[in-house]
Structures are given as structure tokens and as C-alpha cells.
């Protein structure tokens, strides 16, 4: 298991999922790809299909409609995979906790490995979060 996970950490392919977010976090995730914060240096690529993905980047407080689609997509990701919740809404639904359309927080629906706080988290914060996640999983193997 060690070798596999270590290789996974060196080239995590990312798949981004917006479950009802205000697209601030989505823009910040895309900003990581632009020349100033290029994340390809860590081997992070945006995966084309859910089957190629290793890391699920989830933003937004998942409203009812997105929740079951989120479960379906989570089952399709080949394990071992990591789930990263980006932004306040993904962590604890942030402002929208009493909303009638957001019943459950993210970690009640799928297990989450890393939380990146901030609303929206700056690209530096997202990269720092990714590096911390890599160290944590690296240390665990």
C-alpha cells in the first residue's frame, strides 16, 4: 500500500465538482492553473473523466439536487482516492447552514480527507492545503 499511495501523492489528478457554490472557489481553483500559481509543477493535472481522477475537489454547500449526484460520482472514482473540501461552504455549509435546500454537510455524505478553509481560499491556501494533505498521507504510509 505504501508504494501505491506514495506514487499517488506525486501525481494526484484532480477532478473538480461544484455542488451549488457561489463559484468564487471554482474561480480560485482555476486560478491555480494560470501562469502565476501553476500547479503542474507538483504533477497535478485536471483529469478529463471521473475514472481518471485521484483527488476530488468539492466546492459549494451541497444542496439537495447535487447531493445524490455527488454520491454517484464518488462511487465511480477508482480507489484509493482523496476528497478535498474547498472553501467554507464545503466544510460546514458556511453561511447556508439553515437553508432549506442544504440539508447535510459534505462529510455526512462522503468521507473527506482535507478541508481548506477560506471564503474563497486564496490559490496559495489551496496549494498549501494540497501540500499538507500530501505530507499527511505520506507520513501515514
Amino acid at each position: 500500500m505504501g508504494m501505491k499511495l506514495r506514487a499517488l501523492l506525486k501525481s494526484p489528478w484532480v477532478f473538480h465538482l461544484s455542488t451549488g457554490s457561489c463559484n468564487n472557489c471554482d474561480i480560485e481553483v482555476l486560478d491555480c492553473l494560470t501562469p502565476r500559481f501553476d500547479i503542474e509543477r507538483f504533477g497535478i493535472l485536471l483529469a478529463g473523466s471521473i475514472k481518471h481522477a485521484d483527488v476530488l475537489l468539492i466546492t459549494g454547500s451541497c444542496n439537495r439536487q447535487s447531493a445524490e449526484r455527488l454520491k454517484r460520482l464518488y462511487e465511480q472514482v477508482p480507489k484509493p482516492c482523496l476528497v478535498v473540501a474547498i472553501g467554507e461552504c464545503a466544510m460546514s455549509r458556511g453561511m447556508f447552514i439553515e437553508s432549506y435546500n442544504c440539508p447535510l454537510p459534505l462529510d455526512h455524505i462522503i468521507p473527506v480527507d482535507a478541508y481548506i478553509p477560506g471564503c474563497p481560499p486564496k490559490p496559495e491556501a489551496i496549494i498549501a492545503g494540497a501540500v499538507k494533505l500530501i505530507e499527511k498521507v505520506g507520513a501515514a504510509t
Binding site: 439536487q65 432549506y100 435546500n101 440539508p103 454537510p105 455526512h108
Partner: protein, 157 residues
Amino acid sequence: MTREQALQEIRARFDGVILSMFDKSPSRVYIEIKPEALVPAANYIFWELGARFNIATGVDTRTHIEILYHFIIEEINLLVSLRVKLDRDRPVIDSLTPSFEAANWVEREIHELLGVEFKNHPDMRRLLLPENWPEGVYPLRRDYQEWDKQAVRDRGV
């Protein structure tokens, strides 16, 4: 066409059906009219006065359901709001969509969130709420209770 002329025109044309006219400030006018006179009044303001349909706002005051139709006449910076009061148990009004397309979505939204029924609206479908949302539960009503038992509301801290 100045502000006074416009108000004069509206008062003259719809004198019978206007219940009250509140001249709040240079750019705000609230006119309360009878529900059945909504379509002619809205048509007149939208097409003759060249106003733009801003939005309709549904409000659930405990005694009745109120809908405000906001029109803005940009040339003279005047925002005319037509107020219509409907009774709370069976709110029914005829739809403005046949006269101008802009009202289509907002009427669907008010129907979904407040339960107001719009007569001869072309395609009254759900707009915002998910498929598994129970019928007859209107979130923006004052007496809305949480119906979903598994919903978790505390932050778990």
C-alpha cells in the same frame, strides 16, 4: 413625458381600480390595485409608458399574500410598483407572461416558493426546487417548518 404626466395618465386611466397611490420619493411610487385589473395596468405601463419589467416580489404577510410588480421607466428614473393583495388560502391571479415574456420565470418561482397560482401561464414547471421536494410545501411561507428529518443543522463543533 415627465413624472407628473406619467402618474397623471395612470391615475386617469385606472381611477376605478386603484385602491391607493403612495408617492414615496421622486423615484418611487407604490400603487395598490385590484387583482383583476393587474393585466391591463401592467400592459399599459410596460408597452405605452415604455417601462422595463424589473421583477415581481411575493410577500407572505400573515394576513394575506402580497405580490408587487416593479416596473422602471428609465428615462425619467421612476420605479412604479403595482401592489396586489391575494387571500392566503387560495392565492390566484392571472399571469402576465402572455403579454410579455420577461415575467415567465419569476411567476414560476413565486408559484413554487409561495404557492400562488397563475392562470394561463404557458409552462408552469418547477424552476428552483429539486425534484424530491414535497408538493404543497412552500419555503417562503411564514408557517414553513423543516420537513426533512435527517437534516443536520448544528455545526457539530
